[in-house]
Symmetry: C2
Protein backbone atom coordinates (compact mmCIF):
# COMPACT_ATOMS: atom_id res chain seq x y z
CA UNK A 1 0.00 0.00 0.00
CA UNK A 2 1.05 3.60 -0.49
CA UNK A 3 1.94 5.54 2.65
CA UNK A 4 -1.18 6.76 4.40
CA UNK A 5 -1.98 8.40 7.72
CA UNK A 6 -5.43 6.87 7.92
CA UNK A 7 -6.85 3.64 6.50
CA UNK A 8 -10.30 3.84 4.98
CA UNK A 9 -11.93 0.42 5.17
CA UNK A 10 -14.78 0.24 2.66
CA UNK A 11 -17.80 -1.77 3.81
CA UNK A 12 -20.27 -0.75 1.10
CA UNK A 13 -20.46 -3.98 -0.90
CA UNK A 14 -21.07 -6.03 2.27
CA UNK A 15 -22.48 -4.02 5.17
CA UNK A 16 -23.98 -1.35 2.94
CA UNK A 17 -25.73 -3.56 0.41
CA UNK A 18 -26.92 -6.23 2.86
CA UNK A 19 -29.29 -3.65 4.36
CA UNK A 20 -30.65 -2.47 1.00
CA UNK A 21 -33.94 -3.92 -0.19
CA UNK A 22 -33.49 -3.56 -3.95
CA UNK A 23 -31.99 -6.77 -5.36
CA UNK A 24 -28.69 -6.05 -7.10
CA UNK A 25 -27.10 -8.35 -9.67
CA UNK A 26 -23.60 -9.75 -9.31
CA UNK A 27 -22.42 -7.85 -12.40
CA UNK A 28 -23.35 -4.54 -10.76
CA UNK A 29 -21.68 -5.53 -7.51
CA UNK A 30 -18.47 -6.42 -9.32
CA UNK A 31 -18.57 -3.14 -11.21
CA UNK A 32 -19.13 -1.28 -7.93
CA UNK A 33 -16.12 -3.00 -6.36
CA UNK A 34 -14.00 -2.13 -9.40
CA UNK A 35 -15.04 1.52 -9.15
CA UNK A 36 -14.10 1.52 -5.47
CA UNK A 37 -10.65 0.16 -6.30
CA UNK A 38 -10.38 2.76 -9.09
CA UNK A 39 -10.98 5.42 -6.43
CA UNK A 40 -7.93 4.22 -4.53
CA UNK A 41 -9.64 2.19 -1.84
CA UNK A 42 -7.28 -0.58 -0.74
CA UNK A 43 -9.52 -2.48 1.67
CA UNK A 44 -12.91 -3.41 0.27
CA UNK A 45 -15.08 -5.86 2.17
CA UNK A 46 -16.54 -7.78 -0.71
CA UNK A 47 -19.39 -9.92 0.62
CA UNK A 48 -20.51 -12.27 3.37
CA UNK A 49 -20.52 -16.05 3.35
CA UNK A 50 -23.62 -16.31 5.48
CA UNK A 51 -26.49 -18.59 4.66
CA UNK A 52 -28.12 -17.42 1.39
CA UNK A 53 -31.51 -17.62 3.07
CA UNK A 54 -30.37 -15.35 5.93
CA UNK A 55 -29.32 -12.49 3.64
CA UNK A 56 -30.70 -13.01 0.12
CA UNK A 57 -28.92 -9.87 -1.09
CA UNK A 58 -25.57 -11.64 -0.65
CA UNK A 59 -26.68 -15.09 -1.86
CA UNK A 60 -24.37 -14.62 -4.86
CA UNK A 61 -21.25 -14.48 -2.67
CA UNK A 62 -19.56 -17.57 -4.15
CA UNK A 63 -20.03 -16.37 -7.72
CA UNK A 64 -18.93 -12.85 -6.79
CA UNK A 65 -15.72 -14.10 -5.19
CA UNK A 66 -15.00 -16.43 -8.12
CA UNK A 67 -15.34 -13.58 -10.59
CA UNK A 68 -13.73 -10.86 -8.43
CA UNK A 69 -11.00 -8.90 -10.22
CA UNK A 70 -8.43 -9.05 -7.42
CA UNK A 71 -6.03 -6.19 -7.94
CA UNK A 72 -2.52 -6.21 -6.51
CA UNK A 73 -2.32 -4.21 -3.30
CA UNK A 74 -6.04 -4.39 -2.61
CA UNK A 75 -7.43 -6.45 0.26
CA UNK A 76 -10.90 -7.94 -0.26
CA UNK A 77 -12.05 -9.27 3.13
CA UNK A 78 -15.12 -11.44 3.36
CA UNK A 79 -17.36 -12.06 6.36
CA UNK A 80 -17.29 -15.70 7.49
CA UNK A 81 -19.73 -16.62 10.25
CA UNK A 82 -19.06 -20.32 10.79
CA UNK A 83 -17.48 -23.58 9.62
CA UNK A 84 -19.76 -23.79 6.59
CA UNK A 85 -18.72 -20.28 5.57
CA UNK A 86 -15.10 -21.28 6.08
CA UNK A 87 -15.40 -24.06 3.51
CA UNK A 88 -16.73 -21.55 1.03
CA UNK A 89 -13.98 -19.05 1.91
CA UNK A 90 -11.31 -21.69 1.29
CA UNK A 91 -12.93 -22.63 -2.01
CA UNK A 92 -12.97 -18.96 -2.99
CA UNK A 93 -9.28 -18.49 -2.20
CA UNK A 94 -9.93 -15.93 0.56
CA UNK A 95 -6.93 -14.36 2.26
CA UNK A 96 -8.68 -11.88 4.55
CA UNK A 97 -11.77 -12.64 6.62
CA UNK A 98 -14.03 -11.08 9.23
CA UNK A 99 -16.12 -12.46 12.03
CA UNK A 100 -19.02 -10.71 13.73
CA UNK A 101 -20.35 -10.56 17.25
CA UNK A 102 -21.83 -7.98 19.63
CA UNK A 103 -21.32 -6.31 22.98
CA UNK A 104 -25.01 -6.76 23.76
CA UNK A 105 -26.30 -10.23 24.59
CA UNK A 106 -29.85 -9.40 23.48
CA UNK A 107 -28.68 -8.00 20.16
CA UNK A 108 -26.57 -11.10 19.58
CA UNK A 109 -29.54 -13.35 20.20
CA UNK A 110 -31.84 -11.30 17.97
CA UNK A 111 -29.35 -10.66 15.18
CA UNK A 112 -27.26 -13.85 15.18
CA UNK A 113 -29.73 -16.26 16.77
CA UNK A 114 -27.21 -17.19 19.47
CA UNK A 115 -25.47 -15.85 22.54
CA UNK A 116 -22.18 -13.99 22.36
CA UNK A 117 -20.36 -17.09 23.65
CA UNK A 118 -22.08 -19.25 21.03
CA UNK A 119 -21.07 -16.81 18.30
CA UNK A 120 -17.45 -16.99 19.45
CA UNK A 121 -17.66 -20.78 19.41
CA UNK A 122 -19.22 -20.70 15.94
CA UNK A 123 -16.36 -18.81 14.39
CA UNK A 124 -13.54 -20.34 16.47
CA UNK A 125 -12.73 -22.84 13.67
CA UNK A 126 -12.71 -19.96 11.18
CA UNK A 127 -10.10 -18.05 13.17
CA UNK A 128 -8.11 -21.22 13.86
CA UNK A 129 -7.88 -21.97 10.17
CA UNK A 130 -7.10 -18.33 9.37
CA UNK A 131 -4.22 -18.41 11.83
CA UNK A 132 -2.76 -21.53 10.24
CA UNK A 133 -3.26 -20.21 6.72
CA UNK A 134 -1.82 -16.76 7.52
CA UNK A 135 -5.00 -14.90 6.62
CA UNK A 136 -5.61 -11.36 7.83
CA UNK A 137 -8.51 -11.35 10.29
CA UNK A 138 -10.88 -8.77 11.71
CA UNK A 139 -13.55 -9.03 14.40
CA UNK A 140 -16.65 -6.86 14.36
CA UNK A 141 -17.78 -5.84 17.81
CA UNK A 142 -21.23 -4.41 17.17
CA UNK A 143 -23.58 -2.43 19.47
CA UNK A 144 -20.54 -1.13 21.38
CA UNK A 145 -22.27 2.21 22.04
CA UNK A 146 -25.88 1.20 22.36
CA UNK A 147 -28.31 -1.63 21.69
CA UNK A 148 -31.78 -1.33 20.16
CA UNK A 149 -33.06 -3.75 22.80
CA UNK A 150 -30.99 -3.04 25.91
CA UNK A 151 -30.27 0.68 25.47
CA UNK A 152 -26.92 1.93 26.74
CA UNK A 153 -24.08 -0.61 26.75
CA UNK A 154 -21.42 -0.57 29.47
CA UNK A 155 -17.83 -0.18 28.29
CA UNK A 156 -16.93 -3.18 30.48
CA UNK A 157 -19.04 -5.36 28.18
CA UNK A 158 -17.18 -3.97 25.16
CA UNK A 159 -13.80 -4.63 26.76
CA UNK A 160 -14.79 -8.17 27.74
CA UNK A 161 -15.87 -9.17 24.24
CA UNK A 162 -12.88 -7.34 22.71
CA UNK A 163 -10.51 -9.38 24.86
CA UNK A 164 -12.23 -12.60 23.86
CA UNK A 165 -12.02 -11.70 20.16
CA UNK A 166 -8.33 -10.91 20.43
CA UNK A 167 -7.71 -14.10 22.40
CA UNK A 168 -9.48 -15.97 19.62
CA UNK A 169 -6.94 -14.56 17.20
CA UNK A 170 -8.33 -11.55 15.34
CA UNK A 171 -5.75 -9.08 14.05
CA UNK A 172 -8.05 -6.06 14.24
CA UNK A 173 -11.21 -5.09 16.07
CA UNK A 174 -13.88 -2.95 14.46
CA UNK A 175 -15.82 -1.22 17.22
CA UNK A 176 -19.31 -0.60 15.92
CA UNK A 177 -21.93 2.03 16.71
CA UNK A 178 -24.47 -0.19 15.01
CA UNK A 179 -27.53 1.97 15.61
CA UNK A 180 -25.76 5.32 15.35
CA UNK A 181 -26.23 6.74 18.84
CA UNK A 182 -22.72 7.65 20.02
CA UNK A 183 -21.28 11.10 20.54
CA UNK A 184 -17.63 12.11 20.89
CA UNK A 185 -17.66 11.59 24.67
CA UNK A 186 -18.86 8.03 24.15
CA UNK A 187 -16.03 7.42 21.72
CA UNK A 188 -13.50 8.67 24.24
CA UNK A 189 -15.08 6.61 27.00
CA UNK A 190 -15.05 3.33 25.06
CA UNK A 191 -11.63 3.77 23.45
CA UNK A 192 -10.05 4.69 26.77
CA UNK A 193 -11.63 1.65 28.38
CA UNK A 194 -10.14 -0.55 25.64
CA UNK A 195 -6.77 1.15 26.06
CA UNK A 196 -7.02 0.61 29.79
CA UNK A 197 -7.29 -3.11 29.13
CA UNK A 198 -4.08 -3.00 27.11
CA UNK A 199 -5.73 -2.88 23.68
CA UNK A 200 -3.88 -0.26 21.65
CA UNK A 201 -4.95 1.93 18.74
CA UNK A 202 -3.01 -0.29 16.31
CA UNK A 203 -5.60 -3.03 16.87
CA UNK A 204 -8.65 -0.76 16.64
CA UNK A 205 -10.88 0.43 13.83
CA UNK A 206 -14.05 2.44 14.38
CA UNK A 207 -17.29 1.68 12.59
CA UNK A 208 -19.78 4.54 12.84
CA UNK A 209 -23.29 4.89 11.54
CA UNK A 210 -24.56 8.38 10.81
CA UNK A 211 -28.09 7.70 12.00
CA UNK A 212 -28.16 10.75 14.28
CA UNK A 213 -25.61 12.89 12.48
CA UNK A 214 -22.70 12.27 14.83
CA UNK A 215 -20.53 9.94 12.70
CA UNK A 216 -18.13 12.60 11.37
CA UNK A 217 -17.80 14.14 14.84
CA UNK A 218 -17.06 10.68 16.21
CA UNK A 219 -14.35 10.12 13.60
CA UNK A 220 -12.83 13.45 14.56
CA UNK A 221 -12.83 12.50 18.24
CA UNK A 222 -11.29 9.11 17.41
CA UNK A 223 -8.59 10.79 15.29
CA UNK A 224 -7.71 12.92 18.31
CA UNK A 225 -7.27 9.67 20.25
CA UNK A 226 -4.91 8.29 17.63
CA UNK A 227 -7.30 5.88 15.94
CA UNK A 228 -6.18 5.42 12.35
CA UNK A 229 -8.70 3.08 10.68
CA UNK A 230 -12.32 3.89 9.88
CA UNK A 231 -15.07 1.90 8.20
CA UNK A 232 -17.32 3.63 5.71
CA UNK A 233 -19.74 2.87 2.91
CA UNK A 234 -19.57 4.66 -0.42
CA UNK A 235 -22.90 6.35 -1.07
CA UNK A 236 -23.91 6.06 2.57
CA UNK A 237 -25.76 2.82 1.88
CA UNK A 238 -26.89 0.64 4.71
CA UNK A 239 -29.85 2.23 6.37
CA UNK A 240 -30.87 1.01 9.76
CA UNK A 241 -33.54 -1.67 10.09
CA UNK A 242 -34.59 -0.14 13.40
CA UNK A 243 -35.22 3.36 12.03
CA UNK A 244 -36.89 3.39 8.61
CA UNK A 245 -35.62 6.24 6.45
CA UNK A 246 -32.68 6.90 8.75
CA UNK A 247 -29.16 7.22 7.45
CA UNK A 248 -26.89 4.21 7.47
CA UNK A 249 -23.15 3.76 7.48
CA UNK A 250 -20.93 6.78 7.50
CA UNK A 251 -20.52 7.59 3.80
CA UNK A 252 -17.01 7.15 2.43
CA UNK A 253 -17.28 10.48 0.59
CA UNK A 254 -18.14 12.28 3.86
CA UNK A 255 -15.18 10.58 5.56
CA UNK A 256 -12.83 11.46 2.71
CA UNK A 257 -13.98 15.08 2.79
CA UNK A 258 -13.24 15.31 6.52
CA UNK A 259 -9.82 13.69 6.20
CA UNK A 260 -8.94 16.00 3.31
CA UNK A 261 -9.91 19.05 5.37
CA UNK A 262 -7.82 17.70 8.23
CA UNK A 263 -4.82 17.27 5.94
CA UNK A 264 -4.54 13.53 6.56
CA UNK A 265 -3.28 11.23 3.80
CA UNK A 266 -5.52 8.29 2.94
CA UNK A 267 -4.83 7.53 -0.72
CA UNK A 268 -8.45 7.79 -1.85
CA UNK A 269 -9.68 10.17 -4.54
CA UNK A 270 -12.93 11.97 -3.70
CA UNK A 271 -14.06 12.25 -7.31
CA UNK A 272 -13.50 8.53 -7.73
CA UNK A 273 -15.60 7.81 -4.64
CA UNK A 274 -18.33 10.13 -5.91
CA UNK A 275 -18.34 8.26 -9.23
CA UNK A 276 -18.77 4.94 -7.40
CA UNK A 277 -21.44 6.52 -5.19
CA UNK A 278 -23.34 7.77 -8.25
CA UNK A 279 -23.15 4.29 -9.75
CA UNK A 280 -24.56 2.53 -6.69
CA UNK A 281 -27.21 5.23 -6.27
CA UNK A 282 -28.36 4.69 -9.85
CA UNK A 283 -28.30 0.93 -9.33
CA UNK A 284 -30.37 1.17 -6.17
CA UNK A 285 -32.68 3.74 -7.75
CA UNK A 286 -32.56 6.16 -4.87
CA UNK A 287 -30.79 9.43 -4.03
CA UNK A 288 -27.48 9.41 -2.24
CA UNK A 289 -27.67 9.49 1.55
CA UNK A 290 -24.39 11.37 1.88
CA UNK A 291 -23.91 15.11 2.31
CA UNK A 292 -20.85 15.34 0.07
CA UNK A 293 -22.63 13.15 -2.50
CA UNK A 294 -25.28 15.86 -2.71
CA UNK A 295 -23.12 18.97 -2.37
CA UNK A 296 -19.86 17.84 -3.97
CA UNK A 297 -16.36 18.55 -2.74
CA UNK A 298 -14.73 21.92 -2.17
CA UNK A 299 -13.08 23.85 -3.64
CA UNK A 300 -15.12 22.53 -6.57
Amino acid sequence: MTQVDVRIYEVGPRDGLQNERAAIGVDAKLQFIDLLADAGLREIEATSLVSPTAIPQLADADELLARLNRRPGVRYPVLVPNARGLERAVAAGAEAICVFTAASETFSRHNLGMSISESLAAFAPVLAHAGEAGWWTRGYLSTAFGCPYEGPVAEAAVVSVAERLLAAGVDELSIGDTIGVAGPSDVRRVVRALNGAGIGQDRLAMHFHDTRGTAVANVSAALDLGIRCFDSSTGGTGGCPYAPGAAGNLATEDLVYLLDREGLRHGVDLDGVLAAAAFISDTLGRPLASKVGQAGGWPA
Copy 2:
Protein backbone atom coordinates in the same frame (compact mmCIF):
# COMPACT_ATOMS: atom_id res chain seq x y z
CA MET B 1 -32.72 32.52 31.52
CA THR B 2 -32.22 29.20 33.29
CA GLN B 3 -28.65 28.13 33.90
CA VAL B 4 -27.14 26.59 30.79
CA ASP B 5 -23.70 25.43 29.69
CA VAL B 6 -24.36 26.16 26.04
CA ARG B 7 -26.66 28.68 24.34
CA ILE B 8 -28.59 27.43 21.34
CA TYR B 9 -29.41 30.38 19.10
CA GLU B 10 -32.29 29.45 16.80
CA VAL B 11 -32.07 30.93 13.29
CA GLY B 12 -34.82 28.89 11.61
CA PRO B 13 -37.49 31.59 11.23
CA ARG B 14 -35.00 33.99 9.65
CA ASP B 15 -31.94 32.30 8.11
CA GLY B 16 -33.73 29.00 7.59
CA LEU B 17 -36.91 30.25 5.98
CA GLN B 18 -35.33 32.99 3.87
CA ASN B 19 -33.65 30.29 1.77
CA GLU B 20 -36.82 28.24 1.32
CA ARG B 21 -38.79 28.67 -1.88
CA ALA B 22 -42.25 27.72 -0.68
CA ALA B 23 -44.10 30.87 0.43
CA ILE B 24 -45.14 30.58 4.08
CA GLY B 25 -47.88 32.65 5.66
CA VAL B 26 -47.34 34.84 8.70
CA ASP B 27 -49.70 32.70 10.79
CA ALA B 28 -47.55 29.63 10.19
CA LYS B 29 -44.38 31.57 11.00
CA LEU B 30 -45.87 32.78 14.29
CA GLN B 31 -46.96 29.27 15.16
CA PHE B 32 -43.48 27.99 14.34
CA ILE B 33 -41.89 30.59 16.63
CA ASP B 34 -44.32 29.65 19.41
CA LEU B 35 -43.44 25.98 19.04
CA LEU B 36 -39.74 26.88 19.25
CA ALA B 37 -40.33 28.79 22.47
CA ASP B 38 -42.40 25.85 23.75
CA ALA B 39 -39.35 23.66 23.17
CA GLY B 40 -37.33 25.82 25.52
CA LEU B 41 -35.44 27.90 22.97
CA ARG B 42 -34.64 31.29 24.53
CA GLU B 43 -33.06 33.06 21.54
CA ILE B 44 -35.13 32.92 18.38
CA GLU B 45 -34.15 35.14 15.46
CA ALA B 46 -37.58 36.12 14.25
CA THR B 47 -37.19 37.78 10.85
CA SER B 48 -35.21 40.28 8.80
CA LEU B 49 -36.08 43.92 8.08
CA VAL B 50 -34.52 43.86 4.64
CA SER B 51 -36.27 45.25 1.61
CA PRO B 52 -39.38 43.16 0.89
CA THR B 53 -38.31 42.90 -2.74
CA ALA B 54 -34.88 41.52 -1.77
CA ILE B 55 -36.30 38.60 0.22
CA PRO B 56 -40.02 38.14 -0.54
CA GLN B 57 -40.22 35.29 1.99
CA LEU B 58 -39.69 37.83 4.80
CA ALA B 59 -41.80 40.66 3.33
CA ASP B 60 -44.24 40.15 6.21
CA ALA B 61 -41.62 41.12 8.82
CA ASP B 62 -43.49 44.18 10.14
CA GLU B 63 -46.73 42.26 10.58
CA LEU B 64 -44.90 39.32 12.15
CA LEU B 65 -43.16 41.54 14.70
CA ALA B 66 -46.40 43.37 15.51
CA ARG B 67 -48.19 40.12 16.19
CA LEU B 68 -45.28 38.28 17.85
CA ASN B 69 -46.17 36.67 21.17
CA ARG B 70 -43.12 37.92 23.10
CA ARG B 71 -42.64 35.62 26.04
CA PRO B 72 -40.74 36.65 29.15
CA GLY B 73 -37.17 35.38 29.11
CA VAL B 74 -37.09 34.86 25.35
CA ARG B 75 -35.01 37.07 23.08
CA TYR B 76 -36.34 37.61 19.56
CA PRO B 77 -33.53 39.26 17.56
CA VAL B 78 -34.26 40.69 14.15
CA LEU B 79 -31.82 41.35 11.31
CA VAL B 80 -31.53 45.06 10.49
CA PRO B 81 -29.44 45.90 7.43
CA ASN B 82 -29.62 49.69 7.27
CA ALA B 83 -31.25 52.97 8.42
CA ARG B 84 -34.54 52.09 6.75
CA GLY B 85 -34.60 48.77 8.60
CA LEU B 86 -33.79 50.63 11.81
CA GLU B 87 -36.93 52.75 11.48
CA ARG B 88 -38.95 49.58 11.12
CA ALA B 89 -37.15 47.98 14.09
CA VAL B 90 -37.93 50.97 16.29
CA ALA B 91 -41.56 50.90 15.17
CA ALA B 92 -41.71 47.19 16.02
CA GLY B 93 -40.30 47.69 19.51
CA ALA B 94 -37.18 45.63 18.84
CA GLU B 95 -34.74 45.08 21.70
CA ALA B 96 -32.24 42.77 20.04
CA ILE B 97 -30.89 43.20 16.52
CA CYS B 98 -28.35 41.68 14.16
CA VAL B 99 -26.26 43.06 11.34
CA PHE B 100 -24.66 41.05 8.56
CA THR B 101 -21.44 41.26 6.62
CA ALA B 102 -18.80 38.91 5.23
CA ALA B 103 -15.12 38.04 5.40
CA SER B 104 -15.03 37.79 1.61
CA GLU B 105 -15.16 40.99 -0.44
CA THR B 106 -16.59 39.20 -3.49
CA PHE B 107 -19.31 37.51 -1.46
CA SER B 108 -20.25 40.84 0.09
CA ARG B 109 -20.58 42.45 -3.32
CA HIS B 110 -22.62 39.56 -4.72
CA ASN B 111 -24.80 38.98 -1.67
CA LEU B 112 -25.18 42.50 -0.24
CA GLY B 113 -24.54 44.54 -3.38
CA MET B 114 -21.78 46.50 -1.66
CA SER B 115 -18.26 46.18 -0.33
CA ILE B 116 -17.53 45.08 3.22
CA SER B 117 -16.72 48.70 4.16
CA GLU B 118 -19.96 49.88 2.60
CA SER B 119 -21.91 47.28 4.56
CA LEU B 120 -20.31 48.47 7.79
CA ALA B 121 -21.22 52.05 6.88
CA ALA B 122 -24.77 50.99 6.06
CA PHE B 123 -25.42 49.53 9.48
CA ALA B 124 -23.33 52.00 11.50
CA PRO B 125 -26.47 54.06 12.34
CA VAL B 126 -28.23 50.85 13.38
CA LEU B 127 -25.51 49.96 15.89
CA ALA B 128 -25.23 53.57 17.05
CA HIS B 129 -28.93 53.66 17.86
CA ALA B 130 -28.79 50.22 19.43
CA GLY B 131 -26.00 51.37 21.72
CA GLU B 132 -28.00 54.39 22.84
CA ALA B 133 -31.17 52.36 23.29
CA GLY B 134 -29.42 49.53 25.15
CA TRP B 135 -30.38 46.88 22.62
CA TRP B 136 -28.52 43.56 22.47
CA THR B 137 -26.56 43.35 19.21
CA ARG B 138 -24.98 40.63 17.13
CA GLY B 139 -22.83 40.79 14.01
CA TYR B 140 -22.86 38.01 11.44
CA LEU B 141 -19.48 37.42 9.89
CA SER B 142 -20.29 35.17 6.95
CA THR B 143 -17.98 33.18 4.62
CA ALA B 144 -15.40 32.96 7.42
CA PHE B 145 -14.29 29.51 6.25
CA GLY B 146 -14.73 29.73 2.51
CA CYS B 147 -16.39 31.76 -0.21
CA PRO B 148 -18.31 30.43 -3.21
CA TYR B 149 -16.49 32.96 -5.40
CA GLU B 150 -13.02 33.30 -3.88
CA GLY B 151 -12.52 29.82 -2.42
CA PRO B 152 -10.51 29.61 0.81
CA VAL B 153 -10.65 32.68 3.08
CA ALA B 154 -7.62 33.73 5.12
CA GLU B 155 -8.14 33.94 8.88
CA ALA B 156 -6.54 37.41 8.77
CA ALA B 157 -9.56 38.60 6.76
CA VAL B 158 -11.89 37.14 9.40
CA VAL B 159 -9.99 38.80 12.22
CA SER B 160 -9.97 42.15 10.43
CA VAL B 161 -13.74 42.23 9.87
CA ALA B 162 -14.36 40.86 13.38
CA GLU B 163 -12.38 43.74 14.87
CA ARG B 164 -14.32 46.27 12.80
CA LEU B 165 -17.65 44.76 13.88
CA LEU B 166 -16.66 44.86 17.54
CA ALA B 167 -15.38 48.42 17.18
CA ALA B 168 -18.74 49.30 15.63
CA GLY B 169 -20.37 48.05 18.81
CA VAL B 170 -21.72 44.54 18.39
CA ASP B 171 -22.03 42.50 21.58
CA GLU B 172 -21.53 39.14 19.90
CA LEU B 173 -20.01 37.85 16.69
CA SER B 174 -21.50 34.89 14.82
CA ILE B 175 -18.72 33.34 12.76
CA GLY B 176 -20.36 31.71 9.76
CA ASP B 177 -19.42 28.77 7.56
CA THR B 178 -21.93 30.01 5.02
CA ILE B 179 -21.32 27.37 2.36
CA GLY B 180 -20.56 24.50 4.74
CA VAL B 181 -16.95 23.69 3.90
CA ALA B 182 -15.09 23.82 7.22
CA GLY B 183 -13.62 20.93 9.13
CA PRO B 184 -12.51 20.84 12.78
CA SER B 185 -8.99 22.03 11.93
CA ASP B 186 -10.45 25.09 10.21
CA VAL B 187 -12.52 25.84 13.30
CA ARG B 188 -9.42 25.67 15.49
CA ARG B 189 -7.44 27.82 13.05
CA VAL B 190 -10.05 30.59 12.84
CA VAL B 191 -11.01 30.63 16.53
CA ARG B 192 -7.36 30.72 17.59
CA ALA B 193 -6.71 33.60 15.19
CA LEU B 194 -9.61 35.51 16.73
CA ASN B 195 -8.34 34.70 20.21
CA GLY B 196 -4.89 35.86 19.15
CA ALA B 197 -6.40 39.24 18.33
CA GLY B 198 -7.83 39.47 21.82
CA ILE B 199 -11.35 38.36 20.93
CA GLY B 200 -12.47 35.90 23.57
CA GLN B 201 -14.94 33.02 23.51
CA ASP B 202 -17.50 35.13 25.44
CA ARG B 203 -17.93 37.28 22.31
CA LEU B 204 -18.12 34.37 19.85
CA ALA B 205 -20.90 32.23 18.46
CA MET B 206 -20.39 29.70 15.67
CA HIS B 207 -22.78 29.37 12.75
CA PHE B 208 -22.26 26.13 10.85
CA HIS B 209 -23.98 24.77 7.78
CA ASP B 210 -24.09 21.01 7.34
CA THR B 211 -23.61 21.09 3.59
CA ARG B 212 -20.75 18.60 3.66
CA GLY B 213 -21.64 16.75 6.85
CA THR B 214 -19.08 18.44 9.09
CA ALA B 215 -21.31 20.75 11.17
CA VAL B 216 -21.66 18.50 14.21
CA ALA B 217 -17.92 17.74 14.17
CA ASN B 218 -17.26 21.48 13.97
CA VAL B 219 -19.48 22.12 16.97
CA SER B 220 -17.60 19.45 18.88
CA ALA B 221 -14.26 21.05 17.99
CA ALA B 222 -15.58 24.47 19.00
CA LEU B 223 -16.86 23.07 22.32
CA ASP B 224 -13.34 21.79 22.99
CA LEU B 225 -12.12 25.36 22.43
CA GLY B 226 -14.61 26.72 24.96
CA ILE B 227 -17.13 28.19 22.52
CA ARG B 228 -20.53 28.21 24.21
CA CYS B 229 -23.04 29.58 21.67
CA PHE B 230 -24.15 27.85 18.48
CA ASP B 231 -26.61 28.83 15.77
CA SER B 232 -28.96 26.22 14.38
CA SER B 233 -32.19 25.88 12.46
CA THR B 234 -34.99 23.58 13.59
CA GLY B 235 -35.75 21.12 10.82
CA GLY B 236 -32.43 21.85 9.10
CA THR B 237 -34.10 24.39 6.86
CA GLY B 238 -32.03 26.78 4.82
CA GLY B 239 -30.50 24.91 1.95
CA CYS B 240 -27.68 26.52 0.10
CA PRO B 241 -28.40 28.52 -3.04
CA TYR B 242 -25.00 27.48 -4.41
CA ALA B 243 -25.62 23.75 -4.11
CA PRO B 244 -29.16 22.68 -5.04
CA GLY B 245 -30.37 19.79 -2.91
CA ALA B 246 -27.59 20.25 -0.39
CA ALA B 247 -28.25 20.48 3.32
CA GLY B 248 -28.56 23.87 4.95
CA ASN B 249 -28.10 25.12 8.46
CA LEU B 250 -27.09 22.73 11.16
CA ALA B 251 -30.41 21.35 12.42
CA THR B 252 -31.31 22.30 15.98
CA GLU B 253 -32.38 18.72 16.69
CA ASP B 254 -28.97 17.41 15.58
CA LEU B 255 -27.26 20.01 17.79
CA VAL B 256 -29.47 19.16 20.77
CA TYR B 257 -28.75 15.45 20.32
CA LEU B 258 -25.00 16.09 20.35
CA LEU B 259 -25.17 18.34 23.41
CA ASP B 260 -27.31 15.79 25.25
CA ARG B 261 -24.79 13.04 24.48
CA GLU B 262 -22.02 15.32 25.71
CA GLY B 263 -23.88 15.97 28.94
CA LEU B 264 -24.07 19.74 28.43
CA ARG B 265 -27.04 21.71 29.71
CA HIS B 266 -28.87 23.86 27.16
CA GLY B 267 -32.45 24.06 28.38
CA VAL B 268 -34.01 22.79 25.19
CA ASP B 269 -36.26 19.75 24.94
CA LEU B 270 -35.53 17.45 22.00
CA ASP B 271 -39.12 16.26 21.63
CA GLY B 272 -40.28 19.87 21.55
CA VAL B 273 -37.77 20.67 18.82
CA LEU B 274 -38.88 17.60 16.86
CA ALA B 275 -42.50 18.79 17.12
CA ALA B 276 -41.52 22.20 15.76
CA ALA B 277 -39.46 20.51 13.04
CA ALA B 278 -42.39 18.33 12.04
CA PHE B 279 -44.59 21.42 11.87
CA ILE B 280 -42.23 23.36 9.60
CA SER B 281 -41.61 20.27 7.46
CA ASP B 282 -45.35 19.85 6.92
CA THR B 283 -45.68 23.57 6.20
CA LEU B 284 -42.88 23.47 3.64
CA GLY B 285 -44.19 20.22 2.21
CA ARG B 286 -40.85 18.45 2.20
CA PRO B 287 -39.05 15.86 4.35
CA LEU B 288 -36.85 16.94 7.21
CA ALA B 289 -33.20 17.53 6.32
CA SER B 290 -31.98 16.54 9.77
CA LYS B 291 -30.70 13.13 10.84
CA VAL B 292 -32.34 13.17 14.26
CA GLY B 293 -35.55 14.39 12.61
CA GLN B 294 -35.55 11.16 10.62
CA ALA B 295 -34.22 8.73 13.21
CA GLY B 296 -35.52 10.23 16.45
CA GLY B 297 -33.65 10.57 19.71
CA TRP B 298 -32.12 7.82 21.82
CA PRO B 299 -32.87 6.08 24.06
CA ALA B 300 -36.28 6.41 22.42
